[in-house]
């Protein structure tokens, strides 16, 4: 394998453009040899308080994709810092913590607690379809995105990615808001809304009733979002949505991503990131559609 090129965004160097997406690779504590060869790993979403997660089933397979309503199962920020983070100190890649909340002050508190932690960055998740305490996702309103990102930015110098949704909102608007609020990059996109029903009874298949749709099914849409924002706004983009192969990665880089995240593909095969890396040659990509 040829060495892939370093990518530098702000002060952070990624040894390759591949990042393991939040919620699809535990906290970085499993398959360490895979994690270490990636450009980075983003932890499962962490919230201020522990969350038990949603009832079963939490995963429902769909055509070329899946719905999940895991529901942000996590031990909460304090337990994460105390019990999990120390075990990640030896990771040889960028460790980015994904944080989630219902309101601006959750994010403020989370950022404060993470500001001195031994981590390389924070991904602000304003786009989780499984946060049900609020009627809307925070990420569906550019003003709220601005508030959340500003709040986090005030508390920390760490590298910030804002993870956006394209559910019922133009991500160009929220990307602009994230940029204005000082985010160093945006991740496009989190899962689409989705639901599955038992065709006989009408009962929802997911314990959480509806969930987030991911996987190859959404790739053309995710790629569109990246392409749309990249061609209109200057901010580093982390592409995400259905990436399963080196060719998929190249498509996202061409569309204007600087980095990409691999999500559902890890569920299918926990070595997917590594296999993609091996197939990714050292081509020098220039962003933008030809």
């Amino acid at each position: 394998m040829k060495k892939t090129q370093n990518i530098k965004i702000k002060n952070l160097i990624f040894k390759n453009p591949l990042i393991l997406a939040s919620g699809t690779f535990s906290f970085g504590d499993k398959f360490i040899s895979v994690v270490n060869q990636m450009g980075g790993i983003i932890t499962k979403g962490i919230t201020l308080q522990p969350r038990p997660g949603n009832p079963m089933p939490r995963i429902w397979e769909t055509a070329s994709g899946l719905l999940n309503s895991v529901g942000l199962e996590n031990p909460g920020i304090d337990a994460f810092l105390k019990n999990i983070l120390p075990g990640l100190a030896q990771l040889k890649t960028n460790l980015i913590v994904n944080i989630s909340g219902n309101q601006v002050k959750d994010f403020t508190a989370l950022a404060e607690k993470l500001s001195d932690a031994d981590i390389d960055g924070i991904e602000i998740n304003v786009s989780c379809p499984n946060i049900r305490e609020t009627d809307k996702m925070l990420g569906q309103d550019p003003k709220t995105v601005f508030q959340v990102v500003s709040a986090v930015r005030r508390k920390t110098d760490k590298f910030l990615i804002t993870k956006l949704t394209a559910n019922f909102i133009d991500p160009l608007l929220t990307a602009q808001a994230a940029k204005d609020a000082g985010s160093d990059a945006v991740c496009l996109v989190n899962t689409l809304y989705g639901i599955a029903l038992d065709s006989n009874t009408g009962k929802p298949m997911l314990g959480g009733i509806f969930g987030g749709l991911s996987g190859p099914a959404i790739k053309p849409f995710a790629l569109f979002c990246v392409w749309r924002v990249a061609s209109r706004l200057k901010i580093p983009i982390v592409g995400c949505g259905g990436i399963c192969s080196a060719d998929d990665v190249r498509e996202f880089l061409h569309a204007g991503s600087s980095l990409v995240q691999i999500g559902s593909a890890n569920l299918r095969n926990p070595y997917a990131g590594l296999e993609i890396l091996h197939k990714l040659s050292d081509k020098n990509f220039k962003g933008g559609v030809k």
Binding site: G23, T24, F25, S26, K30, F31, K44, P52, G53, M56, P57, R58, I59, W60, E61, T62, A63, S64, G65, L66, N68, V70, E73, G215, P216, C244, S264, N266, L267, R268, N269, P270, Y271
Partner: protein, 257 residues
């Protein structure tokens, strides 16, 4: 844990829609233990997208045996695979059953639950006394009996249609035959089968002191390897554990079914 391309060395029908498959699975076959399982990816194509969990029914050096029922897309694809073709195997997954000695082991299988119990029986029969309770829909689905015969002291059968053994549920048979006869305090029950069967066994108050009661869970899985948090099982004392990494075999006293 490894993910390897495994060649099919034998693939045969045991009963309508029930198959036994032997895979050349190298190191995975060498180290996998009873209670553990593998995830199979059947195709390069994305449909189905996720891998499928199957228990190990037996091993032989570098060979792995799986026994499955065709129920949907994935198992239909598996059924179509011919000897000589390959598929991807991820494993070993899950926690092995802890080896025990000098116990009275009661195996209770419903349907395809018989598959993981075969592997377990082979390991436990040397140092323990085994009894098998096995229920299936009909006579033809009472598979693998010739393989259990030399491993068990006693085998009791039930079928839904009464075509062989007692007519009715295997749980009823288990309770009816086990309870009137006092059981040694070293009894362990291993139950594998559909959820209602496990629930029934879990809820029954067996008058056996020190009884250990283990169930093989088949919760729907995303990754099978602990990274997606998709397979939680509720613990009685609150919170979730993962079927794939904390199980799939659980002490039924500790979880809510």
């Amino acid at each position: 844990m490894k993910r390897i391309k495994a060649k099919i060395v034998e693939h045969k029908k045991l009963a309508p829609a029930i198959y036994s498959i032997w895979l050349q699975a190298g190191v995975i076959a060498g180290i996998i233990k009873p209670g553990q399982f593998v995830m199979l990816t059947l195709d390069e194509c994305f449909e189905p997208f996720l891998a499928r969990p199957l228990s190990v029914a037996d091993t032989n050096r570098d060979k792995l045996r799986l026994i499955y029922r065709v129920v949907g897309k994935g198992t239909r694809l598996l059924q179509d695979k011919k000897t000589g073709e390959s598929l991807y195997v991820l494993g070993p997954l899950g926690k092995p059953v802890k080896p025990v000695k000098n116990k009275k082991i009661v195996l209770c299988a419903g349907g395809l639950g018989i598959a993981p119990l075969l592997f377990l029986a082979k390991k436990l029969s040397k140092n323990n006394k085994l009894t098998l309770y096995f229920g299936a829909r009909t006579k033809r689905e009472l598979i693998l009996l010739d393989e259990f015969m030399p491993l068990c002291e006693k085998i009791s059968l039930a079928t839904d249609d009464g075509s062989q053994g007692k007519k009715g549920l295997v749980t009823d048979l288990l309770i009816k035959q086990l309870i009137p006869n006092p059981q040694p305090p070293t009894t362990i029950i291993f139950a594998a089968g559909p959820l209602p069967m496990l629930q029934k066994i879990s809820n029954f108050q067996f008058p056996i002191s020190n009884l250990k009661l283990f169930g093989f869970l088949e919760e729907r899985m995303g990754c099978g390897c602990g990274i997606c948090f998709g397979c939680g099982v509720k613990k009685k004392d609150n919170g979730y554990v993962r079927t794939c990494t904390d199980g799939p075999v659980f002490d039924l006293n500790e979880i809510e079914l």
